[in-house]
C-alpha cells in the first residue's frame, strides 16, 4: 500500500517537513531525511531546486540558489536518493517546478521516482488540465500520488475536481501567498478552513504556508489532518551542526 495512504489512515496531526535538496551542503539530502525521521517527522517533502521559483519567498529561493550553485540537478538528486530507503520509512514526496521535470522527461522522472521509492510529487506550476491529459497515466503507473494546492480563492467546483484527480492529500494554502509568510488565523481563514472541512473531501488535507511553531501547527491541526513546515525549517538548518539543528527544531513540536 502507498505509504501516504497508510499514514493518513493510522495517524492524526501529521507533521510534514519541507526542505531543499542539496542545502546547506550538496551532500546533506539523505542525512536530513534520516535525522527528520529519527526526531519524529511523519512525512517529508524534498524540494528539487529551480532557478525561477515564483511561488516561493526569499528563504526558499535562497536555499534553491545555493543548492544549484553547489551543483544540484535532478539527475544528481536521484543518485543521492538511491540510499533513501536504507533508513527512511516514512512517506517522501518530491516538490519542484515543472520545467526541470520536462527536461528530465516525464516518463523518466516517474520511473526514477519509483526506483528510489518516492511516494508522490508536488509540482505547483503544473496545471490540472495538463496533468490529466499528459501526466496522470504515467504517475499512476508508477504508483505516485500527485498533490494539488488550493487557496482561499479556489472555487468549490474546482476543489471537487482536484479531489477527484488526486489520491494522496490536498495541500491547503493558508492564504494566497508566497512561502514564508506567517499564519494568521483570523475570521476569514477560519471560514475558509471550515468550508473545506465541511466539503467532506475524499482526500485528507494538510495545511501549509505560514506554519512555523507549535502554536500555529496546533491551530492548523484543528482544521486539517496535519500541517507542512518549510521556510521555518530551512532557516533553522542554515548553519551549525545538522543533526542538532534538526533535533532542536523538531523538539518544539513535541
Amino acid at each position: 500500500m502507498n505509504r501516504i495512504k497508510q499514514l493518513f489512515e493510522t495517524k492524526k496531526n501529521i507533521l510534514s517537513i519541507y526542505y531543499t535538496a542539496g542545502y546547506p551542503n550538496l551532500g546533506d539530502t539523505i542525512q536530513i531525511a534520516e535525522a527528520l525521521e529519527k526526531s519524529g517527522a511523519d512525512m517529508l517533502e524534498i524540494g528539487f531546486p529551480y532557478s525561477d521559483p515564483v511561488a516561493d519567498g526569499p528563504v526558499i529561493q535562497a536555499s534553491s540558489k545555493q543548492s544549484l550553485d553547489q551543483g544540484m540537478t535532478l539527475k544528481l538528486l536521484f543518485e543521492q536518493l538511491k540510499d533513501l530507503r536504507k533508513n527512511v520509512t516514512i512517506p517522501v514526496l518530491l516538490m519542484g517546478y515543472v520545467n526541470p521535470v520536462l527536461q528530465f522527461g516525464v516518463e523518466n522522472f516517474c520511473k526514477a521516482c519509483a526506483e528510489v521509492d518516492v511516494d508522490g510529487c508536488i509540482v505547483p506550476d503544473l496545471p490540472m488540465v495538463e496533468y490529466e491529459e499528459f501526466y496522470k497515466g504515467c504517475f499512476e503507473e508508477h504508483n505516485l500520488s500527485n498533490v494539488f494546492l488550493i487557496t482561499p480563492q479556489t472555487a468549490d467546483e474546482r476543489i471537487q475536481k482536484i479531489d477527484g484527480l488526486t489520491n494522496g492529500f490536498i495541500y491547503l494554502l493558508s492564504s494566497s501567498a508566497t512561502t514564508g509568510k506567517n499564519l494568521e488565523v483570523g475570521n476569514t481563514t477560519e471560514t475558509y478552513f471550515s468550508r473545506i472541512k465541511n466539503m467532506n473531501l475524499k482526500n485528507p488535507t494538510m495545511i501549509g504556508f505560514g506554519i512555523s511553531d507549535k502554536q500555529t501547527f496546533d491551530k492548523a491541526c484543528a482544521y486539517a489532518n496535519g500541517a507542512i513546515i518549510g521556510t521555518a525549517f530551512v532557516k533553522a538548518i542554515a548553519d551549525g551542526n545538522l543533526e542538532e539543528s534538526v533535533s532542536n527544531f523538531m523538539k518544539k513540536f513535541k
Binding site: Y50, S51, D52, P53, V54, A55, G57, P58, Q61, K65, L68, T73, L74, K75, Y97, V98, N99, P100, V101, L102, Q103, F104, P124, D125, L126, P127, V129, E130, F148, L149, I150, T151, Q153, T154, A155, R158, L173, S176, A177, T178, K181
Partner: protein, 393 residues
Amino acid sequence: MKYKVNEKGYYGDFGGAYIPEMLYPNVEELRQNYLKIIADPDFQKEFHQLLKDYVGRPSPLYLAKRYSERYGANIFLKREDLNHTGAHKINNTIGQILLAEKLGKKRIIAETGAGQHGVATATVCALRNLECVIYMGEVDIERQAPNVARMKMLGAKVVPASSGSKTLKDATNEAMRDWINNPVDTHYIIGSVVGPHPYPDMVAIFQSIISEETKKQLLEQTGSDQPDYVLACVGGGSNAMGMFYHFMDDENVKLIAVEAAGKGVSSGFSAATTYLGKEGVLHGSRSILMQTPDGQVVEPHSVSAGLDYPGIGPQHAHLFKTGRGKYVSITDEESLEAGLLCTKLEGIIPAIESAHALAYLEKMEFKGGENVVICLSGRGDKDLDTYIKYFNL
C-alpha cells in the same frame, strides 16, 4: 487564423497557463473576460480615442529614401518611436489599464527591463489615477537611471528585484510574487507577449494596431497592403507580434524576427533564444527558452536591455517552429553600427532594440523594388550613454 491562439490557450505546441494555484483565480478572471471586454464598443471607443489623442496615433509609415537608395528596395519605417513615452509599449498599457478598470482593480503592478514598459505603465496609472508598483532588476535600475526617475516622477513606486540575475527575468518573478500575495485588487500589466494565457494573446491584440495601421498606410502609399518583407526585433516579442499580427495569414509576406546575438551566439553572452534555446516552461507558458540540460534558466546577454530576456512569447515559438517566421540574430556591435547609420542617413536615433531589426538589412539581398517594412519600435534617447561610450562621441 492558423497562427492565432486556440480555445485551450495554445499556439500549436506552445502557450498554456503553467501557473501555481495562487495565480489561478486572477488569470482565470482575465481569461473569461478579456475578449468580451475588448470587443465592447465602449471599450473600443475609449481605447482608440486615447491612442489618437494621447499616444498620437496613427504613427507614420515613413518611406526612408536614403535607406531605400542604399539597399535598392523600398524601406518603410513604422514610426512607433514617435508614440508618447517613446516606444510601442504604450499601446499595450493603454489597453490593459482600461481593462483593469473594467475588472474593478485598484492597484497596478508591472515588471520592466529597460524601463520603457515601466514608464508606459506608470504613465497610464498617472492618467487614470491608479496606484502603481514597478518591479525592476537592481542591475537595470543602475543602468537605466533616467527611466527610474521618470517612473518616480509619474508617481510609481519602483521596487528593486534583488534575486537571481537582478534583471528583467527576476523583475518578472517578483511581479508574479506580488500578484500571488495580492490576489484580489491587483492587475498585473505584463509588458510583452509572454506569460500565461491569455496574456500573450491579449498583448498581441493591443499591439496589433501597429500592423492594422501599416496595412492601410501601405495600401495608400504603394497600392497594395502586402509588403514583401516585415521585420522587427524580438526580446519577448511584443513589437514584433504587433507588426506581424495582420500579416501572419498573408503567406506571401515574409516575416523576419531579429533576436539579440549579444557578443555572438556562441560567446556565452547572448540572448538569441531560438538559436540557443529549447522547449520548456518559463513565466507561465510553454515556449522556447535558454536553459541548462537540467532545465535551469540561463542568464541572457544583450547590449539592449529590452532584448535581454531568456525566452520568447509562445506565439513566436509557434511561428518559428512552423517556419512561418524567419528568426535571425544580430550582435551588439552590428546593432550599434546600425543605430548610428540610421541616425546619419535618416536623422532618426533609434532605440538599440529597434537597431537590431535595422541591422539585418545589411544581410539581406534585394532584387530591386521590393517593399520592406521595419518596425522602428522605440527611440534612442534612453540609449545615448551606450551610443556615446561605444562611439566615443
